[in-house]
């Protein structure tokens, strides 16, 4: 219980190889935030409902609060910090969010960006209904979602228009 036992985690985090030893009970969300300093991933409920902690595990959106760090062993993890452009510039999805005023407090935003990044890879021309369904696993308490929907549709358009 006092953390004597530690297990190895070797993973690719945002394109970089990471090797650490962690307590077996360490959550992936805490590992990313507190051990690796990737604090862009936020923790809103720690029971898998709010979606703020969503990261991409081998490209698939997962709740990092519902995974243990050791479960990331041997996998690739992407967080919001990996979604930007060069030198801190915004990526296209982030830029669409900025233009549409798709965030207010910004706490839920990283989980929405990761969720939608995966969604847009598989849905080049989403309808509004599809976007809303894709967003329905992420809670936002500030925006009422409309501007988020607008941003995702705009990002999809700009991906198509290249």
């Amino acid at each position: 219980m006092s953390g004597a036992r530690r297990l190895a985690v070797r993973a690719e985090i945002n394109g970089r190889a990471v090797a650490r030893e962690v307590e077996p009970r360490r959550l992936l969300s805490d590992f990313l935030r507190h051990d690796l300093g990737l604090t862009g991933t936020h923790v809103g409920c720690e029971h898998g409902v709010c979606g703020a902690c969503t990261v991409l595990l081998d490209g698939e959106p997962v709740r990092s609060c519902l995974l243990l760090a050791v479960q990331a062993d041997g996998h690739a993890v992407e967080t919001v910090e990996a979604l930007g452009g060069e030198q801190g510039a915004l990526g296209p999805l982030q830029e669409a969010f900025r233009r549409a005023h798709a965030l207010q407090c910004g706490f839920c935003t990283p989980g929405i960006l990761t969720t939608i990044t995966a969604f847009l890879r598989e849905h080049a021309e989403p309808t509004e209904a599809e976007v809303r369904r894709a967003l329905s696993g992420n809670l936002c308490r500030c925006t009422g979602y409309q501007h988020i929907v607008d941003a995702v549709l705009a990002a999809a358009r700009s991906r198509r228009d290249g």
Binding site: G40, G84, C105, G106, S136, Y145
Partner: protein, 790 residues
């Protein structure tokens, strides 16, 4: 630069300055702090709503490896004392108010679920939680006052043993002759209304990190608060530090909605105290389960109200008597029920009004304002009574509202009762008829009522429409301040004391300063919520940031502009009146070639050698304060079309329209965001956001699995129309907009669903109203009428 309606930067739909940090994960939230040597705290919280505290045995917890300290009330010494009363009772003759504020750690007994009893500080959060589980407490469980009406019954368990009853406050306000209105009425509608408890459920829980720097002899506290300056001042007094030795920072905050204003939370006192005591940084961040029982909540009130109208539906009198659940303590005074008293007057000419409020202590978590903050209840009462009166008189719902609206020439309207800012409630400005008419037009009211609804009915579909109006008291005092400085680089810094939780202050405030200084809003760096940057002010609440801080920034930036013009005039050899500020420079009007950059002026105003005139101040900088004489009253109307599934009672919103007048708009994009978010919370509140407590005060749905908040599938697109009636109470002419969206949704939902169901005599008198509850109500109604299918 994007221009506003009048071509200026005020009114422009600018994207936000703060977004880049938030979108890339670089923005600092309290839980992101990692300090060298930092310890982690966890609280032992009461598992009971009401219990006497016997012995607390923390020996096993203290003995666990990695545990640094365990503290209970007895360890706190002089730091153990009840918190401050943040809002005193209103100056209403005959008002009764019992002040009972929360304590840092419970002593003697616990009065609500989740009340903190002990603090464990350990090398990690996991170890701290392990140790909390090892603390043994002898509880003698007491019956709980968990029911609002029951808490006032004779013999009810008393939350505070030293009081004769659970009555926390009694205030009667009114004006005009209600009895005469009643006597002259063609119709008096009397009903009981209930609005239940919910949680604001900001996605970021509360958190505090405190660090004592022994060399600098300074304590720094990072706090998820909406009001860092009052926290700094109060905490300094509490801990016996000079205010100058304490810095409170509210960094990016993951949603506030009211409950993050409530100071002092026990954790806000105990965590800094522990950091001082232990000489190491201490972090505490709540988890979701803690948030559901330790963050303040709101909304439970029961109203017995009646409306007297003449044969044309004109209001003669309104009388209301209501119970307000204040929870176990009342640190925030009567702000919430005073808002309820005010909002029941709505947009209407009401000749006689009487409102009696009784606040009641219960063994439930503390109640403080949550977005809307009691305004919902007043609006629900008047809007529902108008609906019922219209039905009985055979009047159209829009028409009864139209007939009762305050006319444009009535403003300012002195309402004869005391508002939450302790001035007489006075509507400063407004033009209500266009609000109502535009909302009706946008929703297609006439067409729906005359054509679409009869067609839907004929096809067996339950479609309905609603139209309601509301006022929002905003922008109350006492004051805020701001410092505006032009840097040598030409960039401009603005510092103000209010905290920010997503409102867009870094952009809206930049627009205000940009307008005065002739610079691009993106060239302006705004700092909020850091007492080292600005240390006068109160905080972000009551939809007041844009009004009070906004006008302080307007004044400070105006003073800087005046100074820049004077300095430039001297440098360029012209009169100050010939200088205009544009494009980041001061230039001679009509001679764009003769100009000097603001950065250059700032450098010249801070000379390294030579002499300056006696009494002159350095730099291009000014600090100004703004305090409105009273709050500004915004108003609006919401309309929606719904369809109810008669089998499941699920309600689908087909269309939602908001027409809103918050005075002059600084940034319509941000106002739309505020309105959308408010409506989303209002929809959640109306549909299903209900904290369910059992008779012992246990919370039965304290997780996001069970306490549902709206998703992207539940909130429809919202169409927003802006009207602008400037406020005469401040130079910018602005009114607040933060809470408007959330205020009338319950009343709207009730009306539209009632209309959709079309059941004779069926009335919705309570909120929230899940499909399950709606199903029960309809079944009970049918049974009472002896109908089939009951």
């Amino acid at each position: 630069m994007v221009a506003g309606a009048q071509g200026g930067v005020i009114g422009a739909r600018l994207a936000r300055n703060e977004d880049a940090r938030l979108l890339t994960g670089r923005a600092l939230f309290v839980d992101d702090l990692q300090l060298p040597g930092m310890l982690h705290a966890a609280f032992l919280r009461s598992p009971h709503a009401h219990a006497r505290l016997g012995a607390i045995d923390a020996e096993r917890a203290r003995a666990l490896p990695g545990v640094v300290a365990v503290f209970t009330a007895d360890d706190l010494g002089a730091a153990w004392r009840p918190g401050p009363l943040l809002v005193p009772p209103p100056p209403v003759p005959g008002a009764l108010f019992h002040e009972r504020t929360q304590v840092p750690l419970a002593r003697g007994k616990v009065r609500h679920l989740g009340e903190p009893i002990a603090l464990v500080v350990a090398e990690s959060r996991e170890l701290a939680e392990d140790a909390v589980a090892e603390i043994r407490v002898d509880f003698a469980v007491l019956p709980a006052a968990a029911d609002l009406e029951g808490a006032l019954a004779p013999g009810a368990p008393r939350v505070h043993d030293d009081l004769d009853s659970n009555l926390a406050a009694h205030v009667v306000q009114g004006r005009g002759d209600v009895e005469a209105g009643r006597a002259a009425a063609r119709l008096v509608v009397r009903r009981r209304f209930r609005y239940d408890r919910g949680a604001a459920a900001a996605l970021e829980g509360r958190g505090v990190v405190a660090e004592w720097d022994a060399r600098a002899e300074r304590l720094t506290v990072w706090d998820t608060t909406q009001a860092p300056i009052p926290i700094r001042n109060g905490l300094a007094a509490w801990l016996g530090l000079s205010e100058d030795r304490l810095r409170v920072v509210a960094p990016f905050i993951g949603g506030g909605f009211g409950p993050k204003i409530m100071m002092f939370y026990p954790e806000e006192v105990v965590v800094p105290w522990a950091a001082l005591r232990l000489g190491r940084p201490v972090k505490w961040v709540s988890d979701r389960a803690e948030d559901f029982v330790s963050t303040t909540q709101e909304r439970l009130q029961i109203h017995d109200a009646e409306l007297a109208v003449d044969g044309d539906g004109r209001i003669l009198a309104l009388a209301d008597s209501f119970l307000h659940d204040t929870g176990a303590y009342d640190p925030y005074g009567l702000t919430v029920p005073l808002n309820s008293q005010a909002n029941a007057l709505g947009l209407y000419a009401i000749p006689a009004y009487r409102s009696e409020l009784r606040a009641v202590f219960t063994n439930l978590p503390i109640v403080t304002p949550y977005r809307g903050a009691g305004r919902q209840h007043g609006t629900f009462v008047i809007e529902r009574l108008l609906d019922l009166a219209a039905r009985e008189l055979g009047l159209d719902r829009a028409e009864i509202r139209r007939r009762n609206l305050l006319p444009k020439e009535a403003f300012p309207v002195a309402q004869g009762i005391v508002y939450q800012d302790f001035t007489e409630l006075t509507y400063d400005s407004g033009d209500y008829a266009p609000i109502l008419e535009q909302a009706l037009e946008r929703i297609g009211y006439r067409r729906f009522v005359e054509e679409e609804q009869p067609r839907a009915r004929a096809a067996g579909r339950r479609r309905g429409i609603g139209i309601v109006t509301y006022v929002e008291g905003t922008g109350i005092g006492p004051f805020e301040g701001a410092r505006v400085q032009v840097q040598g680089s030409g960039r401009v810094t603005v510092a103000t004391g209010v905290g920010t939780q997503g409102q867009g202050h870094f952009t809206a405030f930049a627009q205000v300063a940009a307008d005065a200084l002739g610079v691009d809003a993106a060239e302006i760096d705004v700092t909020t919520g850091d007492t080292d940057r600005f240390h006068w002010g109160t905080g972000t609440f009551a939809s007041r940031g844009a009004v009070v801080a906004g006008n302080a920034i307007h004044a400070a930036a105006g003073a800087v502009a005046e100074r820049a013009r004077a300095l430039a005039a001297a440098a360029l050899g012209v009169e100050a009146g010939e200088i205009e500020l544009a494009g980041g420079a001061a230039r001679v009007r009509g001679e764009p070639g003769r100009a000097i950059g603001l950065g250059e002026l700032a450098r010249r105003a801070n000379p390294l050698r030579g002499a300056v005139a006696s009494g002159s101040e350095p730099g291009l900088e000014a600090t100004r304060y703004f305090g409105p004489e009273r709050g500004a009253t915004a108003a609006g109307a919401h309309a929606m079309i719904v369809e109810v599934d008669p089998e499941t009672m699920a309600v689908a919103i087909e269309k939602y329209v908001v027409v809103h007048d918050c005075g002059r708009v600084i940034n319509p994009l941000l106002v739309e965001g505020q309105v959308h978010g408010g409506v989303a919370q209002g929809i959640g509140n109306a549909y299903y956001e209900q904290l369910v407590y059992d008779a012992s005060g246990q919370l039965l749905n304290g997780s996001f699995m069970d306490f549902l908040v709206p998703t992207a599938l539940d909130v429809p697109p919202i169409e927003v129309g802006h009207l602008e009636t400037p406020s005469p109470l401040n130079p910018l002419g602005v009114k607040g907009a933060g809470e408007a969206g959330a205020i009338p949704t319950g009343a709207l939902f009730a009306q539209a669903v009632e209309d959709a169901l079309g059941l004779p005599g069926f009335e919705i008198l309570e909120i929230p109203l899940s499909p399950n509850r709606l199903f029960e109500l309809v079944r009970a109604h049918r049974a009472a009428r002896g109908e089939e299918g009951a």
